[in-house]
Symmetry: C2
Subunit: 322 residues, 2 copies
């Protein structure tokens, strides 16, 4: 939650001359987004977001991320549209960082989602999966099985500092997931990080899906599992079946899950919980206290892992209610 790279008005005015986006009126660094620096610009044309890509985004991936946003926006998904420069490019540079100018979407992310919000997110996720079909570029998921193992190798020696016994618990989970992970479910482009702060609502409708910087090709149902983790647990760690059911029903009203996808949900949800637990754990152990990045408690996702481990049927997520 910070602006990592400061920019000056001279550099920004020079940058804007590359675009047909009006004359700069103001810009403010915004305190959102945990990975990149974002500025909200007002120009004589419209509001825009200028994103400066920081350390965790590989510039090689930008054509995929920005091309995907363009592909989706053209197909009616409410996501930011990268603005092309007069020379046709979408990636610029400012203050030594790769940067992109994107359209600004009105709307608010929901701090306390209701089942109705979960239903809308399910619909939007399925809409995104369908709209992404035909997108020409591909990107492997850097945060699936192999990526988990890499992160875990780095965090493992100190895992028990967070909770005694955590090392053995996570190692057993990871071994099981590697053995049993499904590989033959429907694949496509997934968002891979569709948390509440990445979905804007306005008047009860989804007005924007943002932050495509983890998007990749992977199992579509894995994206559904991530949304269950991100939207359907309460602050106390309990799973809200009403929300889960609404999310799944919303999703299936647009794209019906296959029987094999539903059967795999407990495993996928467990893998997804492990993925977010591992990045949090790694940050928890490596980022110094007081850094600009907000560190999030890995234990929140250890508890999700434990929940998914004891699931005996996908119907416990709410699939059976429909």
């Amino acid at each position: 939650m910070a602006v990592y790279t400061e920019i000056g008005e001279d550099d920004l005015e020079a940058l804007l001359e590359l675009y047909d986006a009006g004359k700069l009126l103001s810009f403010k660094g915004i305190a959102e987004g945990s990975e990149n620096s974002n500025y909200l610009l007002h120009t004589s044309r419209a509001p825009y977001i200028l994103t400066l890509y920081e350390r965790r985004v590989d510039p090689v991936d930008l054509p995929f991320f920005l091309g995907l946003m363009e592909h989706l926006a053209e197909r009616g998904v409410s996501c930011p549209l990268p603005v092309r420069r007069r020379d046709g490019a979408v990636v610029s540079e400012i203050a030594g960082r790769p940067a992109a100018l994107i359209t600004f979407l009105e709307g608010m992310w929901i701090r306390r989602p209701t089942p109705q919000h979960c239903r809308k997110v399910g619909e939007a996720l399925a809409g995104l999966h369908l709209a992404a079909e035909g997108f020409a570029l591909t990107r492997a998921n850097a945060l699936t099985l192999n990526g988990w193992r890499d992160l875990w190798d780095k965090a493992r020696p100190r895992a028990d500092e967070v909770e005694p016994g955590l090392e053995a618990e996570v190692e057993a989970d990871l071994e099981m997931l590697v053995r049993q992970w499904p590989h033959d479910l429907p694949r496509g482009v997934i968002h891979a990080d569709l948390f509440p702060d990445n979905v804007f609502f306005l008047g009860g409708k989804v007005s924007g899906i943002i932050d495509f910087y983890f998007a990749c090709n992977d199992l579509l149902a894995y994206d559904v599992a991530t949304c269950l983790n991100a939207w359907c647990f309460e602050k106390d760690g309990s799973y809200n079946l009403t929300k889960g059911s609404a999310l799944l029903e919303g999703y299936q009203s647009v794209r019906r899950l296959q029987a094999e996808e539903i059967a795999a949900l407990p495993l996928l949800a467990r893998g997804s919980a492990l993925r977010f637990m591992l990045t949090r754990l790694y940050d928890w152990l490596t980022i110094p206290d007081g850094a600009l990045v907000t560190k999030r408690d890995p234990m929140e996702y250890v508890r999700r892992l434990r929940f998914h481990r004891q699931i005996s049927s996908p119907s416990e997520y709410g699939t059976g209610i429909q």
Copy 2:
């Protein structure tokens, strides 16, 4: 540079119902302002700033600050206008903080001011001094002689940690300033913190003066001295006479300084440098590393103090050039 208090869309929508300011479309925490939390709101009506007052602002002072902004805006000063609620009030509460909704001003603050910017700031400062005449409320300057002594008493025992010998040097300065401080110069409402990040420019003109949360009644020429400190020194600590001359000329083109005010400039500039040195020193010694607040180096203002101490005539600031 941070958002200290998080707000939710429910609370904000409820707050906006107290105003006739349109329907909420979006809000973003902005990474500016070192004292308060600021959100940039878009509504169906216009952009606004919502300021949440944090620890350093005494709610008792809000009628002065907000009333002053209203007084100045009505007299043509480009400053934010506090929006009155339907019930006439200007102060609300959100997330346990006093808060005010104010109009949004387009414009950018200048990272590298030129002499021409300094001239415009001088004009704007004098315009502010004249426009403030007749404002009914008063507020004593909490950061003049007595306030300096209070801060110094707290910081003094550890001053030599910053630079050996600093304690004796500052103590001598403070004693001299208490003895010689002028009390019979023209008084009025001063901004008291008119640094570059509090002045917006658009198309070479001043489009906004913001952040009136140090405003008070004091010597008008003291405000000029603060601007010399804030705008006319280079990053290497040298005084730029061309900028100083331009600032003073701009000021005097709107309000002519009396001979006594000009004669007092070296002393006032020294006092102003001491004031900013002391708040920086206090923060430097008391705020833990890694806190959200950006700590600024007190030595930058120790060097200004040393510069002003060796001034033999006000003409060295550029007053003689006109």
